[in-house]
């Protein structure tokens, strides 16, 4: 008599655990997929923003090359404060002639080459409005900053 109703309880426990297992698997896979996509999107977004800043640097470079004597160039472009929910920063690395962009969380890094006639000076800008300009008092030194 004690064995009665065991099979229905067992059946209940079994189906519950199988359902939990399936659902957990589904959630894990979904979560990982979204995270992967997020990282990819952040990487390509950093790259695109880097290329935009690099072309701004090239534009400023052209204007400085065309200038004569004391020249002042400022080019402003606005970028999103956050990309896919994370902040980022841009750094000019004159040693390797490149821009280094890094996001905070998840930490993704992108490097963009930039070649200029004028001298690139080590400088830094946060997300938001990025200004490319020449150094005050030096017509041939390019820096980036926030504007």
């Amino acid at each position: 008599m004690n064995d009665r109703a065991v099979s229905s309880t067992l059946n209940y426990v079994l189906s519950l655990s199988i359902a939990t297992l399936l659902v957990t698997g589904l959630l894990l896979a979904g979560g990982t997929f979204v995270e992967d996509r997020q990282e990819q999107v952040i990487r390509s977004e950093l790259r695109v923003i880097g290329q935009q800043v690099a072309s701004d640097i090239n534009r400023a470079d052209r204007l400085l090359s065309a200038g004569n004597g004391a020249t002042r160039v400022t080019i402003r472009q606005s970028f999103p404060e956050q990309i896919t929910g994370t902040g980022y920063d841009i750094r000019v690395n004159p040693g390797d002639n490149e821009l280094v962009l890094r996001s905070e969380d998840p930490a993704v890094r992108a490097e963009i080459r930039v070649e200029t006639e004028q001298t690139l000076v080590s400088s830094y800008a946060d997300s938001g409005v990025v200004v490319v300009r020449n150094q005050t008092g030096a017509s041939d030194e390019l820096v980036i900053a926030n504007g």
Binding site: Q52, A66, A70, R72, V73, I75
Partner: protein
């Protein structure tokens, strides 16, 4: 049993909720990706190309006013400078109001500096004359020095109706490099041959036609670009400009050299004394240029020397 029935399916419910949140975040990520594509296809937004276009416009307009002053008022360089200054103010006003329509501020100021030069011209009427020197230096010579010890020449143009072996030679003052442009004509075909340090670089032929216009500093033969014609390529520092066999050519020419009040026995001091003659001229002028757009600021000095070879 009835109570149990209402509490069934929580796992699926929670799972569905979490999945919904996942999909929403996926949508956000995809949205970011779309924004990235949009940013990637964004072209020139700052307007740096426009800043250069307007700068070129300034160079052209101020250049025209310098040429105008050099042609129509040769009394003194002061008067020419006053003329150009007046024109620059007018150009600035019209540029400012024209550019203001598209939300930009463009102002030109100056000129802040002038470089005085000398214009040398042979504009004998009725189809021109041969290119020999002025007879004030004695009998006309077919081979003669047009200018000595100059560093810059601009707007050197000639109009020839006849040529059989005429050449323009540049020779370094303190060096051995030479640059030469020879012009020959055969049954109305004009051929310009360029040689640098004795070696022929190439030649360009136009025709048949009755006359040809050669822009020596601009590298144009009969209005078409001649790829070999680079005025004074390979010449460093000061040079002398010679004509060879100038009795074998008929036409007119004009040039502006970067030497203030240049005078020589080969040239007369005024048009009435015969060809070729010298006159006061502005060689170049510097104007300050300011371009303020919505997202660009560009301030610089523009040097204007119309027809100066690069």
């Amino acid at each position: 049993m009835a109570d149990l029935a209402t509490e069934r399916g929580q796992i699926i419910l929670i799972a569905a909720f979490v999945m919904a949140v996942t999909f929403v975040s996926l949508a956000l990520v995809v949205n970011s990706a779309i924004f990235t594509e949009n940013l990637a296809s964004r072209g020139e937004t700052a307007g740096s190309d426009d800043a250069l276009v307007v700068r070129h416009e300034v160079q052209q307009s101020v250049g025209q006013s310098i040429e105008y002053a050099n042609t129509y008022d040769t009394t003194s360089e002061e008067r020419q400078a006053a003329n150009v200054t007046e024109s620059v103010a007018t150009i600035s006003d019209s540029l400012t109001s024209q550019q203001a329509e598209t939300g930009k501020l463009v102002v030109i100021d100056g000129p802040t500096a002038f470089e005085n030069g000398t214009r040398i011209r042979d504009n004998a009427s009725a189809g021109g004359s041969t290119f020999e020197n002025a007879s004030t230096g004695g009998a006309p010579q077919p081979d003669w020095v047009v200018v000595e010890n100059v560093e810059r020449t601009r707007a050197f143009e000639m109009n020839l109706s006849d040529a059989s072996g005429f050449a323009v030679t540049l020779a370094e003052t303190s060096g051995t490099d030479r640059w030469q442009m020879a012009v020959t004509e055969s049954s109305n075909d004009f051929t310009v041959t360029v040689s640098e340090s004795g070696a022929t670089v190439g030649s360009c032929t136009v025709g048949p036609r009755r006359s040809v216009r050669i822009d020596v500093t601009g590298g144009l033969v009969g209005g078409d670009p001649c790829p070999y014609l680079h005025f004074g390529r390979g010449i460093d520092g000061q040079y002398d400009l010679y004509y060879n066999d100038s009795d074998d050519v008929t036409g007119n020419y004009t040039m502006v050299v970067g030497e203030d009040d240049y005078a020589s026995a080969n040239l007369t001091g005024s048009r009435t004394d015969g060809d070729p003659y010298t006159s006061h001229a502005i060689y170049a002028a510097d104007v300050t240029y300011r371009y303020d757009g919505p997202s660009i600021v560009y301030n610089t000095t523009v040097r204007v020397a119309p027809g100066e070879p690069r």
